[in-house]
């Protein structure tokens, strides 16, 4: 498993490491409140983008990469599991880069926006990264990166909007309002578990 994770680090696209720069416009916002709220949402999205970059490639390069991996002494289950574990790693990188950027901008602006919200942003941003990637990964395993890039993105946003609408229309809304983080964690756990087994099922049946 560790070797597979290292393989993801080695083969990550270089531009993935620049994605945290997308945070800059938010950082340069004058409103401290917007910056604080936007931080965990954008870090969550950046984590998703970095995870997505790690399997960026053409259909052919995907096939060759999997042909190589599966010729090594490694099982299909480990390949999929490593991908899901690495989502946490990419989120961590996005979070650390984001936090550093935020801190630097706060010092430059000197606007008194404290850094105490960082710990509170950890779980929501991690959940956002996992939720988005969990929708994306089964699409990637089934149809490849090209499709997951287009369909996956659309799917991510429609499912998010659909989910929020569904929550708002059901009795779950009070639960969400009362314990938003707990609610997010439970939903993320369910979606990620279902996604993992779906990806595994797709990947185990695939021929390379």
């Amino acid at each position: 498993m560790f070797q597979l994770m290292m393989q993801d680090v080695y083969t990550q696209k270089k531009n993935a490491y620049f994605t945290p720069l997308f945070l800059l416009p938010l950082m340069l916002s004058n409103s401290g409140g917007v910056r604080i709220f936007g931080f965990f949402v954008i870090v969550g999205l950046l984590g998703y983008m970095m995870a997505s970059y790690s399997h960026y490639g053409t259909e052919e390069s995907d096939r060759m990469r999997h042909r190589l991996l599966l010729s090594l002494p490694v099982g299909r289950r480990s390949v999929v599991a490593a991908k899901y574990v690495m989502v946490g790693f990419w989120w961590m990188l996005a979070f650390v880069f984001g936090a550093i950027l935020f801190s630097v901008v706060s010092v430059i602006f000197g606007d008194g926006v404290g850094l105490s919200f960082f710990p509170r942003s950890i779980i929501p941003s991690l959940c956002i990264t996992y939720l988005f990637t969990s929708i994306d990964l089964p699409v990637y395993y089934k149809f490849g990166h090209k499709v997951s890039q287009i369909v996956g993105m659309a799917l991510v946003f429609t499912s998010m909007i659909g989910f929020v609408t569904w929550v708002a229309q059901t009795r779950l809304l009070p639960v969400f309002l009362k314990q938003p983080v707990l609610f997010l964690v439970i939903v993320t756990l369910i979606v990620t578990t279902v996604s993992y087994f779906l990806s595994l099922r797709i990947f185990e049946k695939k021929n390379f």
Partner: protein
């Protein structure tokens, strides 16, 4: 002698192509050449052995064990060389090694650098800048650096210059000195096989046509040549294939049948090359 690899009635169906009832085995200490025309199923068979393709029925055994049971452990003992660019093109050879080596419990860095030096592979250049031959050399260095007992190679000699092809064959002969090892390789270049392969397995249209010792195979068939005046006699002997030439005819026959012919008339017998055996067997099948 113990089988290092055995395929028993392996079947895999795709849209428009199928591997049907593929059975053959390779013993420790031997080199098997896997031949057949383009699209015959050589690469597909290799992908089945490596479990990159799930077979519909049949069994594949490696080191005496069904690959369904302990595939991950079994792959520790396999070195592979593919015809395609499976390694990471955007990484240097050194970084590719750093990614791949930790997967193997018995990786030998010393052996790897020895091969890299012997093959003249630049370590600090990205793989995608390599020629096909250098890529193949790199893949071969990877396959030989973790004490693999079974080396599986898909068209390893294609794209290689004649000098390195010869060197490769020498390396394979060197590897096979260890009688616990075996080499299975597919190729179009049958002249290479005649030099090194102990066994030949011939696949055509997804079916195994023959799997025999190379010497037996070369003895089993004979080329019969003669003037056009003897064409009636040769036709009566029902050759596997018959071809008109500028000097008369060339018939491809089973060895025994050909030897009987010589008692009746003045035919000229020649031992066919592997390429000729392949050519005539394919021709006869397509007829």
């Amino acid at each position: 002698m113990e089988n290092i690899m055995a395929l028993n009635h392996v079947t895999k169906r795709f849209k428009g192509f199928a591997l049907e009832d593929v059975s053959f085995s390779l013993k420790k200490g031997f080199i098997m050449g896997f031949v057949g025309p383009n699209g015959a199923g050589k690469s597909t068979t290799i992908r089945c052995i490596m479990d990159l393709i799930h077979i519909d029925s049949g069994d594949i055994e490696l080191f005496g064990e069904n690959i369904r049971n302990r595939l991950i452990d079994l792959k520790q003992r396999i070195g592979f060389v593919y015809d395609q660019d499976v390694f990471y093109g955007d990484l240097t050879a050194e970084k590719n090694k750093r990614v791949i080596a930790p997967f193997y419990k018995r990786w030998n860095d010393e052996a790897f650098y020895r091969y890299i030096k012997a093959f003249d592979v630049p370590l600090n250049k990205k793989l995608r800048t390599f020629s096909k031959g250098v890529k193949m050399k790199f893949a071969l260095a990877m396959a030989l650096s973790h004490h693999a007992e079974l080396i599986i190679m898909d068209e390893p000699t294609s794209g290689l210059d004649p000098i390195f092809r010869k060197e490769l064959l020498d390396i394979l002969m060197d590897v096979i000195q260890d009688e616990n090892k075996a080499i299975f390789f597919s190729t179009h270049i049958t002249t290479d096989l005649e030099k090194v392969a102990d066994y030949i397995t011939f696949i055509l249209d997804g079916k195994i046509l023959l799997s025999e010792e190379t010497n037996d195979l070369l003895e089993a068939y004979t080329l019969v040549k003669g003037p056009t005046t003897l064409e009636t006699d040769i036709k009566a002997a029902r050759p596997i294939a018959l071809k008109a030439t500028s000097l008369g005819f060339e018939a491809f026959m089973e060895g025994n049948a050909a030897r009987q012919l010589t008692r009746k008339a003045n035919f000229r017998l020649e031992r066919p090359s592997l390429e000729e055996i392949m050519y005539y067997l394919v021709k006869a099948r397509k007829r």
